[in-house]
Symmetry: C2
Subunit: 304 residues, 2 copies
């Protein structure tokens, strides 16, 4: 059975997948202690208990990883960490371990699930903005493992908020969940009344109130989608995908959001790429586990 | 022998290449009459006269071409034109004909000449701004043959000049030779004196006077390179090349220009891609012919 692991900031999702179906999946709380030790020990015990034969373990991590070597994982506080070495403590050598960036594995998961062999560009709108590019069911990583790191495209010329990466005006400072909340606070005083509940502020709250035509909410969501659409139009002239998938927590706003993104994409897109397909990702928060479980060798992946 | 053809606005360059060396090369004036008929007839006569056995003819065209079918060639005034069909009138079927966008073939030429098998992104700064992406000595064309069409990235938020493509603020409205001249005119009145000779205005003239520290020229060149550097930083987060080559007429300004582009690239680049190599393309105006002659099958290309 394939095991797919999606490492997040506070929890880790683990899925056991066979013939493209989740047989088991659960979350592990990893606060405190060594994250990967906890996860591997859990999988070892769980698979023994359920009598599961593991063929492969794939891992998506929210940061920079090169051949199972984590160079930088800011949200977890890990760096210079060898995943393979840690796994050796728990598993035999015949279980292969592979890892990649979390947005990359989500992209792979969506491409395999949707059976799109062509050029698939996945964008994840969550705490940050991530991205991954998959072609022929293979992740394209690039010269510096940076293909799809589009959250740090310098796109916003208006506010130029400082980004966690050190630059100013990055896409994720305006189009992520965090960015949407920030814009809502920034414009709050420009409107006498709003339906937005600031005591429970979230990207979803802003989006829900935009659907009800709240003016503040509409201004914020339009600005987030305008910047994202323009960035996507640029991406099309660099990698020219067949399909853009929009995923991550913010994508839960659904068709309302997707239609706005399409509108702004087409506003800025060169004529040759105006018709690129833009659609909501299908797997939701299971994309990472699913994709990670398919990081294994190419022949195996062909079954997709 | 390989024949490489570089189709331009007013002239067409033809090169005869063997073992990576130009044996012959010349230009054909193609004003009036059917461009491809003129070119093919010329090659037929020339090769007969010099007793050349042609193996392959490759063609770079300034526009959109899909499998030898030209959909749109605005500067030539051609559209819906089948190159293969035209070639049949002059050559036997055993001579294969292949074509691609002019910036794509230039990228291929530079990659093969420099022997860089990795990810090569070529940027051509001429009347417009073009680009091409080559990996493993193969042109990457994309879902809509638009990989590398970076001249139409909407990057300029300041002037928002109207572009020939219909959009506003495209990269080529500020960073091409035309864009540099436009900026020089726009800022002319802000400076009491300048070394720029406006009666012979060209991008090279502006660049030459910037080297002499002329303030107007420096303002213009900095703005052109700032926009280009920012666009390149975005491209790095989409395709993540190992190398950027800068070519086209404007690149003749040499190291002075390349250093400025590097400066602005690094200003906007995400930390993981800050060290991407940026260098002046080596082949000058021969890149198109050279690259086109290598459009042939992959095994042949492996010799590179």
């Amino acid at each position: 059975m394939r095991v797919g692991i999606d490492v997040g900031g506070t929890t880790v999702k683990v899925g056991y997948i066979e013939n493209k179906k989740f047989i088991y999946d659960y979350e592990i709380d990893t606060k405190g202690g060594s994250l990967f030790d906890k996860v591997f020990e859990n999988i070892k015990n769980f698979s023994k208990e359920k009598n599961i034969k593991i063929d492969f373990i794939g891992i998506g991590v929210p940061g920079h990883v090169e051949n199972n070597y984590i160079t930088r994982l800011p949200n977890i506080g890990l760096s210079d960490f060898d995943i393979s070495l840690c796994a050796k403590k728990y598993f035999n050598d015949d279980i292969e371990i592979k890892s990649s960036n979390d947005a990359n594995v989500a992209a792979l998961g969506e491409a395999i699930y949707a059976k799109i062999k062509d050029r698939v560009f996945m964008i994840t709108l969550g705490t940050g903005v991530g991205g991954g590019f998959v072609k022929n069911y293979k992740i394209v990583e690039g010269a510096h493992y940076s293909v799809g790191e589009i959250g740090h495209i310098v796109i916003d010329n208006k506010h130029k908020y400082k980004c966690t990466c050190g630059l100013k005006g990055c896409l994720e400072t305006v189009s992520s969940a965090t960015g949407i909340k920030r814009l809502a606070y920034e414009y709050q005083n420009q409107f006498d009344k709003t339906l937005i509940d600031f005591t429970n502020l979230s990207a979803k709250e802003v989006c829900d109130k935009a659907k009800l035509k709240d003016e503040l909410a509409l201004k914020v969501i339009n600005e987030a989608c305008d910047n994202l659409g323009r960035a996507m139009a640029m991406i099309s002239l660099a990698v020219d995908p067949n399909v853009f998938f929009i995923g991550g927590g913010v994508a839960k706003c659904g068709e309302f959001l997707i239609e706005l993104i399409k509108y702004y994409y087409r506003k800025y897109a060169h004529f040759a790429v105006k018709d690129t397909v833009i659609m909501q990702a299908a797997l939701g928060n299971k994309a990472g586990m699913f994709g990670a479980s398919y990081l294994w060798d190419e022949n195996y992946r062909e079954e997709a």
